[in-house]
C-alpha cells in the first residue's frame, strides 16, 4: 500500500492513544466540594446520632426491597479499593415455598458485627477490636499474622484471607464513612435502599447479648456469636426456605502445613511420653532426639501456614482468650523443655505435662470453632490417637498394630450417616478416604507381620519404613480432618463450585 495510507494509520494510532487531559474540553464544571452528591439519598438510611450506652450499630436488610441486583457487592469492592475478586459483602439465594406460591429471595450479607464475635475471641494476636462506641468489629490489618483462625471461628464465613497481603481482611461497616456522616458503600449503592444502618440495643452481660429474633432463619444459628444484622420483611419467609447452596458439598482447604504439623507434633509428644514408660527400655540412644527433631520440624511447618510469620512473636497476646495462643506458647515451651531436659532430667515431667496440655490446646483450637466434625469427641481421639500410634511405632512397634486398628475403627464411625462430613468423605473426598484406609490397613498388616511373624527384633531400616507407612496413613487422616469439616456460612448461590454426591 502506498505511503499516504500508512500515514493515515499512524495518525489514527496516535489519535487513539491521546486522552483528553483533565483541563481539556470534556472536563465538567464540578464543584470541588467534598459534600457527597448522594447525601440526600442515604440520609434516612444511617442513624442521626452515635449509639448510646448499651447500643451498637447494625446492618438492617429489608428483604422486600432487595430484589437481587447485587450492586452492593461491586460497590463494596469499588468504593473500598479492594482487590479484584475481594468483596466484604456477598449475596446468596433462598429457595422454597409451595407449588402455588414458589419463593425465592436474594440475601445480602456482610459482617454481622456480632455482640460476641468469634473471630475476635479466637484471634491469637488481638488483631480484632470491637469498638466500644459503635460496636463495629474492626480488624487490625498490620497486627494480623495470617493464621486464618478467625476464618474457621466465624460461623458466617465473613473474614476472608487475602493471598497478596498474607492477612485476613473484613468489613468494617465503612466506619470511616460513618464517622464522616456518610453511608457505607453498600448502603449508598443499593438502588432500592434495602440496606441501612440502625442502632440496636445490647444486653450488657458476659458475654454480651442482642435481640437475634430478626436474624435470618436459614442462616447458621445466632446463639453462638450474637450477630446484630436484622433481616426484616413484611411477609413471613416460608418454613422450608433453604439456601440454594444448602445441599452443595464444599470440601474445605487442606491447610497442608497444619496437616504436617498436627501429625508430627502428636507423634513427637507421644514419643517423648512413651519413652519415659517401661516399655521403651532398650530403645537406641538416638531415639532420644526423635521428639526434638519432629517437634522442631512440626513447628517450622506451622510457621509456613502463617501469611505473616514475622509478626508471629505477638502470639502470646491472646493467651487469655485464644486456644491458638495457648497452643503456640505451650508448644514453644515444650521444645524448650525438651532441650533443657538433656542436662536437667527433672524437666522430663515438666516436658510431658507441657506437651500433653499443648496437644490438648491443639484439640481445643478446633473444638472452639463449634464445627460438628471437630467436636471434642472427634478431635481428641484423632490427635491423641495419632500420637499414640506413631509413638508406639517409634518406641514399641509391637503394640502399634492394635492401637492403629482401634483408631481406624473409631474413624469409620465418621463415614456413616448423613452428616456433611460423612457425605464429603464418601463423596468428593472418596479417593482420599480410600487412600487413608489403604494406608491404614497396610499399616496394621505390615506392623503385625513385622512384629509378630518376622523373627527377632526389627532392624532399624525396617522399623523406619514401618514408621513412614504409619506416618503417611496419619497424614492422610489429618488431611481429611481439614477437608471434610462442615463449614457453616450464610446462604450462597447455586452451583457456585459446590458438588453433591
Amino acid at each position: 500500500m502506498d505511503a499516504p495510507n500508512k500515514s493515515i494509520i499512524d495518525a489514527y494510532l496516535e489519535e487513539q492513544q491521546r486522552l483528553q487531559t483533565p483541563v481539556a474540553r470534556f472536563t465538567e464544571a464540578h464543584s470541588r466540594t467534598a459534600k457527597p452528591a448522594l447525601e440526600s439519598v442515604y440520609r434516612d438510611l444511617i442513624p442521626l446520632s452515635k449509639p448510646g450506652p448499651y447500643e451498637q450499630y447494625a446492618f438492617e436488610v429489608d428483604l422486600d426491597s432487595c430484589t437481587g441486583c447485587k450492586a452492593c457487592v461491586t460497590a463494596c469492592n469499588s468504593l473500598n479499593g479492594l482487590d479484584e475478586t475481594e468483596s466484604w459483602r456477598d449475596v446468596g439465594l433462598l429457595l422454597g415455598g409451595t407449588p402455588a406460591a414458589p419463593f425465592q429471595q436474594t440475601i445480602t450479607t456482610a459482617c454481622h458485627h456480632c455482640a460476641d464475635p468469634a473471630c475476635l475471641n479466637g484471634c491469637p494476636v488481638l488483631a480484632y477490636e470491637k469498638d466500644a462506641r459503635t460496636g463495629i468489629v474492626f480488624h487490625l490489618d498490620d497486627q494480623c499474622i495470617g493464621c486464618q483462625y478467625c476464618v474457621l471461628m466465624c460461623p458466617y464465613d465473613v473474614p476472608k484471607y487475602n493471598e497478596r497481603l498474607g492477612i485476613v481482611r473484613k468489613c468494617d461497616m465503612c466506619h470511616q464513612r460513618l464517622a464522616a456522616g456518610e453511608a457505607p458503600a453498600c448502603v449508598q449503592a443499593c438502588p432500592t435502599s434495602a440496606i441501612s444502618i440502625v442502632t440496636v440495643s445490647v444486653r450488657h452481660s458476659e458475654p454480651e447479648r442482642v435481640d437475634t429474633s430478626k436474624f435470618l432463619a436459614a442462616a447458621p444459628a445466632p446463639d453462638n456469636t450474637q450477630p446484630t444484622t436484622r433481616y426484616v420483611s413484611q411477609r413471613a419467609l416460608p418454613e422450608n426456605a433453604r439456601a440454594a447452596d444448602a445441599t452443595a458439598l464444599r470440601p474445605q482447604p487442606p491447610h497442608w502445613p497444619l496437616v504436617v504439623m498436627l501429625t508430627l507434633l502428636p507423634a513427637a509428644i507421644g514419643t517423648q511420653v512413651i519413652q519415659l514408660l517401661p516399655l521403651a527400655v532398650g530403645a537406641p540412644a538416638f531415639m532420644h532426639w526423635v521428639p526434638i527433631v519432629m517437634g522442631a520440624i512440626g513447628l517450622a511447618c506451622a510457621s509456613l501456614h502463617l501469611g505473616q510469620p514475622l509478626r508471629a512473636w505477638r502470639v502470646f497476646l491472646g493467651l487469655r482468650q485464644s486456644w491458638f495462643s495457648r497452643e503456640a506458647v505451650l508448644f514453644g515451651a515444650w521444645v524448650g523443655f525438651l532441650v533443657i531436659r538433656e542436662s536437667m532430667p527433672m524437666f522430663n515431667v515438666m516436658t510431658v505435662f507441657t506437651g500433653l496440655v499443648g496437644l490438648l490446646c491443639s484439640v481445643m483450637i478446633y473444638v472452639d470453632t463449634r464445627r460438628s466434625f471437630w467436636r471434642f469427641s472427634q478431635t481428641f481421639p484423632r490427635f491423641f490417637g495419632t500420637g499414640t500410634v506413631l509413638a508406639l511405632a517409634i518406641v514399641a512397634p509391637q503394640y502399634a498394630a492394635q492401637a492403629l486398628t482401634l483408631k481406624l475403627v473409631f474413624e469409620t464411625f465418621s463415614l456413616t450417616g448423613k452428616s456433611i462430613s460423612a457425605r464429603l468423605l464418601r463423596g468428593p473426598l472418596r479417593r482420599a478416604t480410600i487412600l487413608r484406609y489403604t494406608l491404614g490397613a497396610a499399616g496394621v498388616f505390615v506392623t503385625y507381620y513385622m512384629t509378630n511373624l518376622l523373627p527377632g527384633p526389627l532392624s532399624l531400616p525396617l522399623q523406619g519404613a514401618l514408621v513412614a507407612l504409619l506416618f503417611a496413613g496419619e497424614l492422610a487422616e489429618r488431611y481429611l480432618f481439614f477437608r471434610a469439616v462442615d463449614s457453616p456460612k450464610m446462604p450462597g448461590m447455586p452451583s457456585a463450585g459446590g458438588i453433591t454426591t
Binding site: M1, N5, K6, I8, I9, Y12, L13, Q16, L19, Q20, T21, R25, F26, E28, H30, T33, A34, P36, A37, L38, E39, V41, T67, C69, K70, A71, V73, T74, A75, S78, L79, N80, G81, D90, L95, G96, G97, F103, Q105, T106, L140, D141, D142, Q143, L165, C174, Q176, A180, A189, P191, T192, S193, A244, T247, A248, P494, S495, G497, G498, T500
Partner: protein
C-alpha cells in the same frame, strides 16, 4: 511514646492499614480510597444495557480512568448502577484483549500483522470474493454495542462504499420485534415513554420482563413510585420481579398473545374502552374488537392455564380508567414465534383504553442493548440510514445529499435479515462475512448450524475487543477494536435519550476505535473520499443530526456531544425549533410522546394490528418432554459474557458453569438432586449442566441462562415472520441425570 510501645505490641497502624484509608474524593464523591483520589471526573453513559445509566469516571492527571461511580446528577440512574456498571472499566484490562490485527496462517495459527497488511488483506480477499461470487456475496453482522456514529459509518462504508447489500445486526436478536411493532402501529419505531412513567403509574404490567435483574435501575424507578402501585407480572417463571410484584400470572409459555386478546375482550365487556380516543386517534378498532370477541374466557384459560377468576381480576386491574395503566415488555415478548403481533396486542390494550400519552401510561418496550435504539435508527440494515426507505428514490436522494454521495451507490432494496444471511451462507450465496462486536457462534439460535457454516465462508473477519470470543477463534482475520471507554460517540437508551460516551482509557497495543477502522477500510477499499465528511465521531454526529431533521426522532436541537452531557442527556425529539424556543433553558428531562394523540402514520392515527395466534413451533412430546426457557441468569452477566466474565468480582456473583433450573416434581421423577450433573438434549444438540432444583420454574419446564454458549446448541430456530427475530424462549428438550463418574 506510649503510643509507639502500644503500636509495637498491637499495630493499629501501618502499611496494610493505610491501604484502606479513605479520603474525601471531592466532586461529590464523598470518601473514596486515598490512593484512587481523582484529579477530576467526567460522566459517560454505561455500555452494557439500554437503561443508559450515567457513570462518573474518576480520572488521574493524565486523563486516564482510575475508578468510577454512578452519576448522582443524571435523570436516569440518580446515583445508582447495577454490578455491570460498577465494573464497566474492568473488562478493558483483560489479558485476552486483541492488541494487533491477527491473520490466520496456512498452518492454522494466528500471527499478528500490521494494520497495513490487515487492511490490504481485508480488501483484497473481500474484493476477490465479490469478483468471483458477485457483490452481494460479502455480508456484515453488526451490533447494538458500538456508538451510533460508528454504526452509521459502518452502514455507510459497507453499503455505499464496499457495495455490500446484506448487513444486519445482533439487535435482530433483541429489538427487531419492537421496531416492527411500533413502526406498524405508531407509524414509527417510537417507544413513547420516559422513565418517570415507572414512578407515575398506578398499575404497571410487565410482560416477559424481569427488570429486577435485567434492568435493576429501571426497577429502582418502580420502587420510587409513591402511588402505591399495583404491579402485575406475566411470566412463566417466578422471577425476582414476579416475587416483588403484587400479582404474578404464571401463564403457559407463549400463550401471551391469546391472553392479550382475551384481556381485550374482557375490557370490551367491562366497558373500559375509551371510544373518544379510539375515534379521534386510531384506525382499525372495529375489526380488532370483532377479532378480540373470539377470545372467550374458556379459550383463554385453556391456553394460558389461568383460572377464569384470575383472568377477570387481571382485566379489572387494567380496566379502571381513573388509574394510570402502563404496560411494559421486553425479551419474553420480543423473542417469540409471533412476537410482533404480541407486542402489538400490548399496544392495542393501551390504545383501546386511551392509556397512552399521559404520565404513567403507555405501551412501553424496555430495550436490550445499550445502543439498540441507535441501531434501529442508524444501522442501515433493513431501513435506509436514519429510518428511511431503500425503495423510495426521494429518500435515497435525500440521504445521498446529506452524505454528499452519489445516490446511485445506495442500494434500492433492503438487506436480508440475520437469519437470511445465515441461510445465504448455507446456500453459498454469502461467501465473505465481517462480524463486528458480536459473537454469533455463541448467541445465534441453534448455534451448531452456525459453527458448521464456518467452513462455507471463504473469508471471515471478526472485529472485536477480544481474541477469545467463539466467533473470533474461527476467524481468518481479527481486527483489534477499542472498547467502550476508549472512544467517543453517543448511545440512545430505552426512553429515546441520547447520551455521550468518551475516551477515558488507552486501548491496548495498536487496537483502534471501530470508527477509525471503518474509515481505514474505506481508504483501503479506495472509496475514502466518499466519507470525507465523517472526519471524527463529533463530525459524524452532525451528519446524524441532519439525517434526523424532519423525522420523528429529529434531534437537530442538540448541539454536540458536550451539550448532551451538560443536559443530562436529551430525549428525541428535540428539534432546532424546540431548542430555539427553550432558549437557554435545557430540554425537559422527562418527556414522553403522543400527548396530543398524534401518531406518526400518514393519517396521524395509530393502527390496531392483530392476527390469529399460532401454536409454538416445537411443543414438548414424549421424546422431548420438557420445555426449555432461556433468559438472563443474573444482573452480573451480560449476554455472551465476553466482557462481564473478565471481572473477578462479577464472576463471584454468578455461577461459573452452565446450570439448569428444574422443578422439584420433575427432579423427583428424573431422580435428580440439586448439584447433580445432568445431560440436556434437543433435536439439535446437547449440553451438560448442573441441576438447580427450584419451585420457581413450573412442572414440565426448565430454564437455562443464555450466558453459556451451550444453551444455543439446544434452541429451536423459529422466527417471527414480521420481525425475523429468533424465538429463543421455548423449545422441546429432554433431560436426564448424567451417568456416574
Amino acid at each position: 511514646m506510649t503510643t509507639a510501645v502500644q503500636n509495637f505490641l498491637r499495630a493499629v497502624d501501618g502499611p496494610m492499614t493505610s491501604e484502606l484509608v479513605l479520603r474525601p474524593g471531592n466532586f461529590g464523591l464523598g470518601l473514596i480510597p486515598a490512593r484512587l483520589k481523582p484529579v477530576t471526573t467526567t460522566s459517560m453513559i454505561c455500555g452494557f444495557c439500554s437503561t443508559g445509566c450515567s457513570l462518573k469516571v474518576h480520572l488521574d492527571k493524565n486523563g486516564e480512568a482510575v475508578n468510577l461511580s454512578p452519576d448522582a446528577d443524571y435523570p436516569v440512574n440518580l446515583g445508582m448502577a447495577c454490578p455491570k456498571g460498577w465494573e464497566a472499566l474492568t473488562p478493558l484490562a483483560a489479558p485476552d484483549r486483541a492488541t494487533a490485527p491477527l491473520l490466520r496462517q496456512p498452518d492454522g495459527s494466528m500471527a499478528s500483522v500490521s494494520w497495513d497488511e490487515a487492511l490490504s488483506m481485508f480488501c483484497g480477499r473481500f474484493k476477490e470474493v465479490q469478483a468471483t461470487h458477485g457483490p452481494d456475496s460479502v455480508a456484515v453482522l453488526s451490533t447494538g454495542q458500538i456508538v451510533t456514529e460508528e454504526m452509521a459509518l459502518l452502514g455507510a462504508v459497507a453499503k455505499f462504499g464496499m457495495g455490500v447489500k446484506h448487513l444486519d445486526s445482533n439487535t435482530r436478536q433483541c429489538m427487531a420485534t419492537t421496531h416492527v411493532a411500533y413502526k406498524e402501529s405508531f407509524g414509527f419505531d417510537a417507544p413513547p415513554f420516559t422513565y418517570a412513567d415507572f414512578e407515575e403509574s398506578d398499575v404497571l404490567v410487565f410482560f416477559g420482563a424481569n427488570p429486577c435483574i435485567a434492568h435493576p435501575i429501571m426497577w429502582q424507578r418502580v420502587m420510587n413510585n409513591k402511588r402505591n402501585p399495583r404491579i402485575i407480572v406475566v411470566d412463566p417463571r417466578r422471577t425476582e420481579t414476579a416475587m416483588a410484584a403484587s400479582q404474578h400470572y404464571a401463564i403457559q409459555p407463549k400463550s401471551d398473545l391469546t391472553l392479550l386478546y382475551g384481556l381485550a375482550n374482557k375490557l370490551i365487556t367491562l366497558e373500559a374502552v375509551d371510544q373518544t380516543f379510539i375515534d379521534a386517534h386510531t384506525d382499525g378498532y372495529e375489526a380488532f374488537a370483532r377479532h378480540a370477541r373470539e377470545f372467550t374466557t374458556a379459550r383463554v384459560c385453556a391456553a394460558t392455564g389461568l383460572t377464569p377468576d384470575e383472568l377477570d381480576r387481571f382485566a379489572v386491574d387494567i380496566a379502571d380508567r381513573t388509574k394510570r395503566v402502563s404496560l411494559w415488555w421486553t425479551m419474553g415478548v420480543n423473542q417469540g414465534h409471533e412476537s410482533t403481533r404480541t407486542a402489538q396486542a400490548i399496544i392495542n390494550l393501551s390504545l383501546m383504553t386511551g392509556q397512552i400519552g399521559r404520565p404513567g401510561t403507555g405501551a412501553n418496550s424496555i430495550t436490550g442493548q445499550c445502543n439498540a435504539m441507535g441501531s434501529r435508527l442508524f444501522g442501515n440494515a433493513t431501513s435506509l440510514l436514519g429510518g428511511y426507505d431503500y425503495g423510495n428514490a426521494e429518500h435515497r436522494a435525500h440521504v445521498a445529499k446529506i452524505l454528499e454521495i452519489d445516490p446511485s451507490v445506495i442500494p434500492t432494496e433492503k438487506s436480508w435479515a440475520y437469519d437470511q444471511i445465515i441461510d445465504g451462507i448455507e446456500s453459498g450465496k454469502i461467501r465473505g462475512l465481517w462480524v463486528i462486536a458480536t459473537d454469533p457462534a455463541h448467541s445465534w439460535i441453534n448455534q451448531g448450524r452456525f459453527a458448521r457454516l464456518r467452513e462455507k465462508l471463504d473469508f471471515l473477519v471478526v472485529q472485536d475487543m477480544y481474541t477469545t470470543t467463539n466467533t473470533a477463534q474461527t476467524a481468518d482475520l481479527i481486527l483489534p477494536a477499542a472498547g467502550w471507554g476508549e472512544k467517543a460517540g453517543i448511545f440512545i437508551n430505552s426512553e429515546r435519550r441520547l447520551g455521550a460516551v468518551r475516551k477515558v482509557a488507552r486501548s491496548p497495543g495498536i487496537a483502534l476505535s471501530d470508527f477509525a477502522i471503518f474509515k481505514l477500510v474505506a481508504e483501503y477499499w479506495g472509496v475514502g473520499e466518499r466519507f470525507d465528511r465523517w472526519e471524527s465521531p463529533e463530525d459524524a454526529f452532525q451528519i446524524l443530526k441532519e439525517l434526523s431533521r424532519g423525522q420523528p426522532y429529529d434531534f437537530t436541537g442538540v448541539k454536540d456531544h458536550a451539550h448532551l452531557t451538560a443536559s443530562g442527556g436529551v430525549q428525541w425529539p428535540w428539534t432546532e425549533a424546540e431548542a430555539a424556543e427553550a432558549g437557554a433553558k435545557p430540554p425537559g428531562q422527562e418527556r414522553r410522546l403522543f400527548a396530543d394523540g398524534n401518531f406518526f402514520t400518514p393519517r396521524k392515527r395509530a393502527k390496531f394490528v392483530f392476527d390469529e395466534p399460532r401454536p409454538m413451533p416445537e411443543l414438548p412430546d414424549t421424546e422431548y418432554p420438557l420445555l426449555l426457557l432461556t433468559g438472563r441468569g443474573t444482573s452480573a452477566q451480560w449476554h455472551t459474557g465476553s466482557r462481564t466474565n473478565k471481572s473477578g468480582v462479577l464472576r463471584k456473583l454468578a455461577p461459573t458453569s452452565l446450570y439448569v433450573e428444574l422443578n422439584p416434581t420433575d427432579a423427583t421423577r428424573l431422580k435428580v438432586k440439586s448439584g447433580d450433573k445432568v445431560h440436556v438434549w434437543s433435536r439439535r444438540g446437547e449440553a451438560q449442566a448442573t441441576a438447580m432444583i427450584t419451585p420457581t420454574v413450573q412442572v414440565g419446564q426448565i430454564f437455562m441462562p443464555m450466558h453459556f454458549d451451550e444453551v444455543n446448541r439446544l434452541t429451536y430456530p423459529a422466527f417471527d415472520p414480521h420481525s425475523r427475530q429468533p424465538s429463543y424462549k421455548a423449545c422441546a428438550v429432554a433431560l436426564e441425570r448424567a451417568a456416574h463418574r
